[in-house]
Amino acid sequence: MTHNIYLYILVAAAVSCLIRVIPLTLIRKKIKNPFIRSFLYYVPYVTLAVMTFPAILDAPQIPAAGILALIVGIIAAWKGVNMIGIAALCCVAAFLGTGHF
């Protein structure tokens, strides 16, 4: 049997939406449990860290460009450069690191 592409999109969208919306609409209070509070405190940093590395190595054409972008990004962030600046510096580093001078 063939399926309808719009129905596929609708199913995917509905599931995505429920996953994103349910916790935010149901959890109305500050969570008191110290473990859950601590867990949720660490979640964003861990998620972003595991998404960044090693994926940044595979994003550009060669891994070396990714390493360069990562190092440049970390130094820039440490020095207090703002988000747009860091993103731009990473792109430039990846571009140069790929060998496009």
Binding site: Y8, T25, P54, A77, M83
Partner: protein, 264 residues
């Protein structure tokens, strides 16, 4: 921080900040979505379908999985399951965001902010001090989601217009934004710094261990997040004074200062 304290000006400033911070996200999204569009085309989607899918689902790994399900002509139930697994991290992000909301925030704002969660929009809104201002998220969504959706649609139409070197360079912009959130937090709090370093190492190790090869990237991200954040919570519970309570007070004041600066 409800009702009249939220002036129109403050809402407008938050919306504009959201647009401003959303610009690099939109640019990065455009490049990534462009290549996603090529996958969508293979699955038989036309540009309108690609656009709708990206407006509604807006998830890189999730949509990639979505298109593979369409390509396989698999049952709708499988679509639901695959999306649940590939996007499960948004459940965690939504939980984390719920703790940064003013408890009096009306349901419609919770729904809309929740709908707009992506890795990057979550990242920038959690990176902001104090309680989440929905208008900031709306600003970021207003520019980032069209960037993502047009990127997908144009990718379907045009295939490889941009030179590979440009796409390659633009693709790290997203990671630059992640770095912009985790590094300043690591600098401020040594435990967060240690947790970030461990996350890097374990994530790298898992990518090299063939046992995990069959697991999707999104599944790996979810699993690692639960394990590492859980271990960190057990080993280094956040005390009230260095947890969200003190964060609320000193970050609200810095939020206020940032707001003052924006007005000047």
């Amino acid at each position: 921080m409800t009702g009249e304290n939220f002036g129109m000006n403050r809402q407008k400033n938050a919306f504009i900040s959201g647009i401003r911070d959303g610009i690099p996200i939109a640019l990065g999204y455009f490049a990534v979505a462009f290549s996603l569009g090529i996958v969508a085309k293979k699955a038989g989607l036309d540009p309108v379908q690609g656009f709708i899918s990206s407006m509604l689902n807006h998830a890189s790994a999730g949509e990639y999985a979505e298109f593979t399900v369409i390509m396989a002509n698999a049952p709708y139930v499988e679509m639901a399951f695959v999306i649940l697994i590939t996007n499960i991290r948004y459940l965690l992000m939504s939980c984390a965001l719920s703790q940064r909301f003013d408890p009096d925030t009306p349901g419609i704002h919770r729904f809309l902010v929740g709908f707009g969660i992506t890795d990057e929009i979550f990242g920038i809104s959690i990176g902001r001090p104090g309680v989440v201002n929905p208008c900031y998220n709306y600003g970021a969504m207003a520019i980032a989601l069209p960037g993502w959706s047009f990127g997908t649609a144009i990718g379907i139409v045009a295939g490889n217009i941009l030179p590979a070197s440009i796409v390659s360079a633009l693709s790290v912009a997203l990671y630059g934004m992640f770095i912009a959130i985790i590094i300043p937090a690591s600098k401020k709090n040594r435990i967060v710094g240690g947790v970030v370093a461990v996350s890097f190492l374990v994530s790298f190790a898992v990518s090299k261990i063939s046992l995990f090869d069959r697991m999707s990237d999104s599944m790996k991200i979810s699993l690692l997040t639960v394990v590492i954040a859980g271990a960190a919570a057990l080993l280094f519970p956040v005390k009230e004074e260095d947890g969200e309570d003190s964060m609320d007070t000193d970050e609200k004041s810095s939020d206020y200062m940032a707001f003052e600066k924006e007005e000047l």
